[in-house]
């Protein structure tokens, strides 16, 4: 049997096939690797339960600090590891530009919606995969947001983002002392993660399934 994949057509299946084809040809890892990166990403988020409303909206209410603790420790560890990988030629930096207007306006909209939805674009899909219908409704809203952004990019959104002030990184402010800056940054951020007091908001709907001695809120 011959399998024919149409990658030039206009219909939905061939446009999805074009997505896979693009990943195969763009040289950022094989199709299997990219899929696997997603599986591990989703697995880590699900296994640590940081996709829960109680963790993200809970942080917005300052009643849960697991999300910032995990985020800051991740950044601290990765910043040091990545810097030396780049030095050794094993990786490259991919810096996003400083677009003040876009960053501030986008950050405000993002912060408001993250507090209300209790998810972000990385944790939302994990919640959908574990059966949260309200987040699926949020994703439909997101798709429409993506549609509006694409349709009015030239007329509204690109001008809103303002001009770029270049791609700066922290070590560039301290020429000659890059290594020191990286170490201080990484260690400080990791220390912040450890020093943020651990506060948790639990979900009774998860806890009630556990035997009394395994309940996380009882110690």
């Amino acid at each position: 049997m011959e399998i024919i994949v149409k990658t030039a057509g206009e219909d939905l299946p061939s446009r999805i096939a074009q997505m896979f084809e693009s990943v195969i040809h763009q040289g950022h890892g094989s199709l299997v690797l990219v899929f696997l990166i997603g599986v591990i990403f989703g697995g880590i988020i699900q296994y640590t339960r940081v996709d829960k409303f109680e963790k993200i909206a809970g942080f917005a209410m300052l009643k849960d600090t697991i999300v910032p603790k995990m985020l800051f420790l991740t950044v601290g560890l990765t910043s040091i590891g990545l810097y030396f990988m780049v030095e050794a030629g094993g990786a490259h930096y991919h810096i996003k530009p400083i677009i003040w207007q876009g960053l501030i306006l986008g950050g405000v909209l993002f912060g408001i919606s993250m507090a209300i939805l209790g998810k972000c674009p990385g944790t939302g899909p994990v919640s959908i995969a574990e059966g949260r219908i309200d987040v699926l409704v949020g994703a439909i809203g997101g798709l429409l947001g993506g549609l509006v952004f694409t349709l009015y990019y030239d007329d509204i959104f690109e001008p809103l983002m303002g001009e770029s002030f270049g791609k700066l990184t922290l070590p560039e402010f301290f020429p000659g002392n890059e290594h020191m800056v990286v170490l201080i940054f990484g260690i400080t951020v990791a220390l912040i993660a450890i020093l943020i007091p651990k506060v948790e908001m639990f979900d009774e709907a998860d806890l009630c399934k556990l035997p009394e001695r395994e309940r996380l809120d009882r110690d």
Binding site: R15, K52, V137
Partner: protein, 167 residues
Amino acid sequence: MHRLPWWMGAILMSGLLLMTFSVFGADRPIGASTYVPYFAGILFDLDPEKYTYLKEIKNSGAWEGVMLLGVLFGGFITSVFLTKTFRFSLIPTGWKRYKNNSVLSRLLWSFFAGFVMIIGARLAGGCTSGHFMSGMSQMAISAMIFGTVVMVVLVITGKLFYHTKED
């Protein structure tokens, strides 16, 4: 509810980021919001040649799109077999406690927040993954500006939007 401690999650996530950045991995950062307009383009049958933005995100949108399929798969498998937390639900426990008991209210707010979230992420050029995790790990100033604004606005919104004084 079985789960990994936050520090173990951070170590694993850091390993995944480094592997993805590595030239032996994908030689690029992890991002998780470009796929949304990319999928919108596919679903609503927009011609990629006619829209500037679709041309800009052609490659990264496809990359994140495939990654997202993995995220859905990984999240589903983990929730069913490891944490055993898979269940259908319409309203989070925390919403009932600090906002209201109305399913309609939760769904309408979710829809609204999802819409605004993608506009915000695309204006800034990244989200929690692309800016906060990948960007801050590269010590990018853009990521630090975004991260600070998001954290401040997140906490202010949390105080104003939810009834946090009731317990």
